[in-house]
Symmetry: C2
Subunit: 321 residues, 2 copies
């Protein structure tokens, strides 16, 4: 072990440095750096969308979490990645690394939880691998499909676009992080209807995921603080942190964050209300300029915020918890 460590460099920069020259082949439509990779398989009317995710004991769930919820979370995360591209889920593979003393009943419930949420959104579990480890690690892979060139990436936001988010945000640690509903139906409808110019799922926290869109689209954002949909869970936490901060920074809400061109906004809002009961809130506007987020407070003052959220390698102080 020599040189800089992962915690010193930080997750985003580690990934950027590692993946600089990957995914450059001709059949790769959208490479590394979006919610999923989009690849071309033969001369089809559809592209193939590939994504991976991990759910690790002690990081993504505690040892006390019900096994069915752990399985549900893994499949849910994969489905949420596909939803964020507007893709239709097809197949899931799941690697389980488990301590030998794991009870079979727990593993069975884990698979049942995974299978249930997958089946609900039309995905079939077709393979995987089982191996031994010190603690429980789940690594999942999903494939979906999307009509050629129709994937909704993070890179399409333009100045003037309205910024929307589904559901309510913050406090997912109280339960939603395990039992969220991936927004597959909404993601598919959004893509088919052609509303969003860019889209991502809120896995790392609103500010950080918005920053991903801004970085890929090379633009800035104004956010109206009073429009942020703060979840009851964020208000319930009572940990001294303002609920709004939870809504801005907590991860694992798995809602959809997307932008809609200005000329479509009114029609989009009407269509959404006709189609879904799920809340969908306009929280701000895309602006020209280098990637940055301006938070407009109710008193009219503006705070420029950094996009920091949860980093897998650095805690807030730059040290490992």
């Amino acid at each position: 072990m020599t040189g800089e460590t992962l915690e010193q460099i930080g997750e985003v920069e580690v990934i950027r440095r590692l993946t600089r020259r990957l995914g450059e082949a001709l059949n790769v439509v959208v490479g590394i750096g979006d919610d999923a990779a989009v690849v071309r398989f033969e001369d089809d009317s559809h592209d193939l969308v590939l994504t991976t995710d991990a759910v690790i004991e002690g990081i993504h769930f505690s040892a006390e979490a019900p096994s069915a919820d752990v399985g549900r979370k893994l499949a849910g995360r994969l489905l949420s990645d596909l939803a964020a591209m507007g893709a239709e889920p097809l197949w899931i593979l799941c690697n389980v690394a488990a301590p030998p003393r794991t009870s079979f009943r727990d593993l069975k419930q884990l698979y049942a939880g995974m299978k249930r949420i997958a089946a609900r959104f039309g995905a079939d579990i077709v393979g995987g691998d089982l191996s031994r480890a010190e603690s429980l690690h789940l690594h999942g892979f999903a494939a979906g499909r999307i009509p050629c060139q129709r994937a909704v990436t993070r890179a399409g936001a333009r100045p003037g676009d309205a910024i929307f988010v589904t559901g309510a945000l913050g406090g997912s640690i109280l339960g939603k992080h395990l039992r969220f509903t991936p927004r597959v139906t909404e993601g598919l409808w959004l893509r088919k209807s052609g509303w969003p110019s860019a889209m991502i799922d809120v896995s790392d926290g609103l500010l950080r995921d918005l920053a991903h869109i801004l970085g890929s689209s090379r633009c800035a954002a104004d956010i109206e603080v009073r429009r942020i949909p703060v979840s009851p869970a964020a208000r319930k936490l009572g940990d001294g942190v303002p609920p709004l901060d939870h809504a801005l920074r907590d991860g694992e809400d798995f809602e959809l964050l997307f932008t809609v061109p200005p000329d479509k906004v009114e029609r989009f809002i009407r269509s959404w209300k006709k189609k879904f009961r799920l809340r969908c809130t306009k929280i701000g506007t895309i602006r020209a300029g280098p990637p940055a987020i301006n938070l407009r407070k109710p008193d009219g003052s503006v705070v420029r915020v950094s996009a920091e959220g949860y980093d897998h390698f650095c805690s807030q102080g730059g040290k490992t918890p």
Copy 2:
């Protein structure tokens, strides 16, 4: 944790019980229980082949293993799975779970090792996930393609077929388990030439992988002990276990084990020798009967052996190491 544990049940039975009702959708050509899943994507001339594998510190490599070799092993295992179906590699995704104190240089070398072996066989790394863990876990996912209905499964062996294995077996722990060459070129050529009736890669040990073929094909095998290609590494181990036993039972040689119908055997042997310098040995014959392996010793006596090999959850005595 209640009821039976994974180590009490054993890996093969755990997988059998977990996957009973998975992969039954109409677009699944070959479901769970082969080297890879084969699925139908649109009305193509090719099927899509999907596989996963894991490489875990302390299980699949020691902390002292060079990082480039660890990355090479993950991609190599995936490529070997595709080779065993006769598939052409296309895309790889890799999840890394690593301790925060991992050096970036190590992770970079790991990616370089993975990328090098992938590129050698035409595969592109298009995605993955990075998260924090107590020890280093790599989980990989690969997709390949194969002309429709041409995948070489474990289920096609018939009585009278000759049994072949590439390379030499045993003692991979001395280095080959990290630096093997996946037999992608050979697997593709075998499938294109139409020689094999069934095929698998030797990851769990010759006897155990042969048992997988016999179980799927519902037949037995006679093996000529003197024909087993024992590797120099197996002879070098000097651990008191006969080299032949290492060749029969050691895992992670990642050679191809396959069967060829009797009327094709002579032509196959000539073609192989013209095409490859790699050793390919006829080690026995498929027989009618329930799955069982008969080892014929040089003195003419026959021993019926069980197909036990490495079980990820049970050591030889049924306890965890």
